[in-house]
Structure formats: structure tokens, C-alpha cells
Amino acid sequence: MAALLVVLLAFPFAVGVVSYLVPVRVSKVLAPVSGAVAFALSIALVPAVLTHGHITAGSELRVDSLSVVFLIATSFLYLATAIFSAGYLHLDSGPAGARYGRRFYAGLNVFCWAMLAAPLVSGLALLWVAIEVTTVVSALLVAIDDTETATEAAWKYVLIASMGLGISLLATIVLYYAGTSVFGAGYDLSYAKMLAAGHHLPPEVLRLAFVLAVLGYGTKMGLVPVHTWLPDAHSEAPTPVSALLSGALLATSFYAILRYYQITAAAIGSVFPRNVLLVFGLASLLLAALYLLRQRDIKRMLAYSSIEHMGVLAIGVSFGVTLAFIGVLLHVLAHAAAKGTAFFGAGSVVRKFGTKDMALVRGGVGALPWSGSMLVAAVLALSAMPPFGLFRSEFLIVSGGLSDPRYAVAAVLVVLVTLAFVGLGWSTTQTMLTTGPADAALAAAPHATPHTPHAPHAPHAPHAAVVSSRVRKGEVSPWIVLAMALGIAALVLLGVHLPADLSRLLDHAAHELRTP
């Protein structure tokens, strides 16, 4: 079993290095293979952690149920994104295109490697290193398109996220200091050890470490008010990178916060860390829901939806009951699938219509019968509609919240999530479900595109007709459809029939979080 961990750690990195050396057509195959291997290995870990509790390899690698949940989410998205990339990338045949492809695939694989490494390592210092590596690699991937806006987004991202990680490095050091009172001056800072130390750790120091950790890792997770890099980076990055940033990277940072939560709760009780997360969670949910109401850029809209979901996760943890923890972990899995699929759909729309401005896109489902419909389904999933996984997870979180004496928070959660649904749903249906160029008559007479007099962006409607009229019906690539179908299938599976082992895994992980 220990060998599995080593392979999971080594394989994606090796593929990343190889991708830089071989022609792009080879990388196009290698990346999905690597994603599939990572996903299969993560799944293979499930029965082992269920029977043994945790698996270690050497002193540096250790996984328990909680880590495996995040490994599954990341590796699934790795696989889906690698498939999507094969259809999404349109490279010039010249040397510039080849260089772009080599850099892109090397970056993509190394980025996924770093995100997989974070839940694999046992040391909190190495966890910090893994997350810092994700920042560096993904910032370069955000900048890869070499446009003015991409450069701006990459600069804001690398600067703000690095500052946040500076804070979380301070958190790591302060936590190490807290441990010196139990373990002496020199020891390995692993979370298992800190959990075992429990209430022997000095409470004041732990409070400081936890707040610093939430502020620092929260910057990368996209918690308000330290989220400001997120919409820019998500909207300007190449779409496969946006999907990974949103579905996997934010979750990886959340994983780091959960580890600090565990340690702090074991040492000083869960009231303090829960209150901290509640404040950040509510702020994130509120701000994201309001911004969702007035978004025109499709990728920015999905970025704000990520902030919303990270807020839901933070609030879910703040409820502090097992039911809500199960919901939170299921939410991580389902959000990875839903946000990935939604970004793939957005990428398909952007390739088809040549714009991210939703006011200029009409008749999306008409033009893209498969990926358009699946984009609508993914957005419905993101709004927590049944039969998708996010419905089940948010239902669990809210039920957990209602059992808490502070049930008002659960009510606020429901209201704000509904507000976000209005924003997401309105923009998407306006874009995708309107009649557009698919109607032959309208394609012939673009300016006659009907739009309701109350359309929110009525002044732009003529442009919408112009853009849409140039578009022909048909998918951009079958690979995009395949990647999206994978995501939708996962969402339905999580929502309708949770596999028994997965359900037990979530149960286990939730109980790990509940440790007094």
C-alpha cells in the first residue's frame, strides 16, 4: 500500500518533466493517462484507509480518510481536464505553437502533481511547500496566454497569493513553536503528532496560529476579504487551468485549513475555530452572491460562484456536527465535478462564440447541442438542484446547521445560496436557452433576433445578434463533450446513488474531523 503513495507522488511529476521534452501530440495522450492513473490510485486507497485508518510511507507520506477525499477530487479533475485540454487547445503548427503546448502540458501536470502532493504529505511544513509550488506553477500558467489582461491577472495572483502564503508560513512557524512546549526544541511537525499532543499545547499560541492559517491559506482558498486575485486569475487563465484552479486548488487550500482546524479543535475545543470560519464563510457567501447578480463575463461568473461555494464549505465546518462535516466533504467532491464541467462548457462557448461576454452570446444550446446543454446542467448543479451531488451535500450541511442552536445561520445560508442561484441561473439561461443562430431564419436576418424588452443588457442585443449570427451549429470537439459527460455522470452518481465505500469514507473522514 505504501508503494501506491510513492507512485501517486512520483508519476504526475515524471509525466510533467517528460511533457516538456516530447512533442505535443504525445503529451495530449500522456496527460489523460497520468490523470487516469492518479484517479485509479486514489480510488484504490479507499478500501485500505477504511480498514487501516491510515497508511504511511516513510515518515513524510501519510494519508487518512480526509486526505483521500481530497485526492479523489483532485485526481478526478486532473483526468477530466486532461481530456478537455486535448479538445480545447488549438495550437499553431509553427514553433511558437509547439513551445506553447510543451509549456502548457508541463505546467498542467506539475500543477496537478503539487495539488496531489499536498494531501499526501504528513508534515505541515511540507504541506506549505506543496501549496506554494501550486501558486508558482499556476501563476505561470495564468500568464501563459501572454495578453495584457493575463499578465495583470498573473501579477495580482502571484503577489497576493504569495503574501497570503507568507502569512501561512508564519502560522506554520507559530504552530511549531506551540509544539516545542510538548516535544522539545527539535521535532517533526506532522499533523498526526500535533493531534496527539491535544490539549497540552498552549492555547494562546494555537489561536494565533489558527487565525494566521485561515488568513494565509484562506487567501488561496478565496475567502472574502482576501479573495481579490481569484476572479481575475480564473477569468484570464486558459480554461483548463481555470477549471483546475477553481475545482481543485481552492479545495487543496481548504484541506490545509481543515488540518489546522483539527489541531486547534483538539487542543482548545472547536468553538473558537468555528467562529473564525463562520465570519469568513458568511462574508464570502454574501459578497459572492451579490457579485453573481451583475456578472457579464462567463468565467468571472463561475469564479464568483467558487467564492460562494468556498463560503458554504467554511460555514459547513462552522456548524461543527458530523452531518455537516459529511456534507462539507461531499461538497468538495461534487464542487470539483460541477465547477470543472461548468468551466469546460464555458470554454466551449468561448471557443464557439469568440467572446466571454454573456451579453453577446445568444442561443448557446442551439449552437452547442451537447456541451451547451451540459453547461446548463452543470450550472443547475452548482445551484444545488437535484439530482446532482451538490443538492445532497448542501442538504446535509443545512440539516447539520439546523440541528445547531444557531440555526439562524443555516437560514441565512439558504437565503444567500438562493440569491446566488438567481444570478447564475438568470445569466446562464439568457445566454444558453434563448433562441439564436440555430434557427435558420434568424441566421439569415441577424438583426431580427428577438429579445425580450426587459432583457438586462438590451443595448448590447444587436451585437449579440451579430456575434451569434456568425456561429454555426456543431460541437467544438468531441473531447470537450467527453470531459463534460464524465463530470455530469460523477455529479449524478454523487447525487442519486452514493457508492457504499465512498459513503463510508466520508463518514470516516467526518469522524476524524469531529475528534474532540
Binding site: G123, A125, L126, V129, E132, V133, T135, V136, A139, L140, A143, D146, E148, T149, T151, E152, A153, A154, W155, K156, V158, L159, S162, M163, G166, I167, L169, L170, I173, V174, Y176, Y177, T180, S181, G184, A185, G186, Y187, D188, L189, E204, V205, L208, P231, D232, S235, E236, Y291, R294, Q295, R300
Partner: protein
């Protein structure tokens, strides 16, 4: 309140830490980009000296190795990379600060006093560790934030981040000196990778807009 007389070692550590803080103020004031890089090199030198002091007084042999590594990376390589970048882009003046020199000094002073007393009031100390150094380290981090916020060019902002890392290093040296060498080394290499990434993005930005100013970077909103 009992009078607490610091030992000589603690005194030396505090003096070096304060030196780092003063360098941070000098960076906030320096009008030339080259002088920023030089001040950063000096600050890193102070941090390396602090590492030697910590290694000598606490008899931690592996901290010597860390001090050497930190010297090579932060005093030699990082400034060399940044100087080369500055030579290539041929820009000397740092972007104008959003506040005047006097006002930004006052802001930095207020912020560092806040950091010093906020951390001091937490009573994070033990028999072998001086608490004042942690307070000074947090003041360095906060002044680095002021520097990043007030400066409007990419090189100054990057140098601000690197000096923020110096502040965290002091805290690490003084309160977590026992952290295994492997981990400390990984931190440093991580910094090196970050420097390369910052450098690449700075080059891309300069290549596109022919300036180092961040005033151009305001297209993405909402």
C-alpha cells in the same frame, strides 16, 4: 511588573532583528530600484548573521548550514537575478509611492508599533526564547505589507514580498530553530522558485507595456 533583564544572546538577536526592521524602513524610503535590491541584500545578510548567532548560542550545527545556504541564495543569487533584470529593462526610478515619503514613514511607524505591541501582548515566550524578536519580526512583516501596498511598480512589490519572507525567516530562526534542516532547505528553494516566477512575470509585463509601473494593471474589475 518584574524587571526582565535580557541575556547577552537575546540582546544580540534583538539588535540584529531591529537592524532588519530598520532596513525595511530604508527600503520604503529608497527612490531607486537598484538601492532596493542592495538594501534587500543587506537585510538578507543580517538574517544570515542572525542564523549564525542562533547556531552558535544554541549549539545547533545544522543552522550553520542553513545560514550558509541563506547567504548564497538571498545575498548573492536573488539580488543578482534582480539586478540582471533591472539592467535588461533599463528602468532606474521606483514607481512613485501613493503617499509622500514622510506620510508613508508615519504609516509604517504606526503599523510596526501596532505589530510590536499586538504580538508582545500575546505573551508568546518561554525560558529559552526571547519574545521581543517575534514582535520585531511581525513588525517587519507588516512594514513589508505597507511597502507592497504603497509602491506602484512591480520590482518594488516583488522586493517587498522577498523582504516579507525575511521577516518570517527571523521569526522562524528565533522561535522554530529546531525545525528539521530538510524542511528549512525546502523553504529556501521554494523562495528561489518564487523568485524565478516573479522574474518571468515581470519580464512579460515589461515586454508588453514597456514599463514596470503597476498603473497599467487596472483593467480587470468587478
Amino acid at each position: 511588573m518584574p524587571v526582565h533583564v535580557p541575556s547577552t544572546t537575546a540582546g544580540v538577536e534583538d539588535v540584529v532583528a531591529v537592524l532588519v526592521l530598520l532596513t525595511e524602513f530604508a527600503m520604503l524610503r529608497g527612490p531607486l530600484l537598484r538601492s532596493q535590491v542592495r538594501l534587500y541584500a543587506f537585510q538578507s545578510l543580517a538574517v544570515s548573521v542572525l542564523a549564525v548567532v542562533v547556531a552558535a548560542t544554541r549549539h545547533l550545527a545544522d543552522i550553520y548550514a542553513l545560514a550558509g545556504l541563506s547567504f548564497v541564495l538571498k545575498v548573492v543569487i536573488v539580488p543578482a537575478v534582480m539586478t540582471r533584470l533591472l539592467r535588461d529593462v533599463d528602468v532606474d526610478l521606483a514607481g512613485s509611492s501613493k503617499l509622500g515619503v514622510a506620510s508613508s514613514m508615519l504609516v509604517a511607524l504606526a503599523v510596526s508599533v501596532f505589530g510590536f505591541f499586538a504580538v508582545g501582548s500575546l505573551h508568546v515566550h518561554s525560558s529559552l526564547l526571547p519574545s521581543t524578536t517575534l514582535a520585531v519580526a511581525s513588525a517587519v512583516v507588516l512594514v513589508a505589507f505597507v511597502l507592497i501596498v504603497l509602491r506602484s511598480d512591480v520590482v518594488s512589490q516583488a522586493m517587498g514580498f522577498f523582504s516579507l519572507e525575511n521577516g518570517v525567516s527571523i521569526a522562524g530562526l528565533v522561535i522554530a530553530a529546531g525545525l528539521p534542516l530538510v524542511v528549512e532547505t525546502t523553504f529556501l528553494f521554494d523562495l528561489l522558485v518564487a523568485v524565478v516566477a516573479f522574474g518571468i512575470i515581470i519580464r512579460v509585463h515589461h515586454g508588453r507595456s514597456r514599463t514596470l509601473s503597476t498603473d497599467e494593471l487596472d483593467r480587470l474589475r468587478g
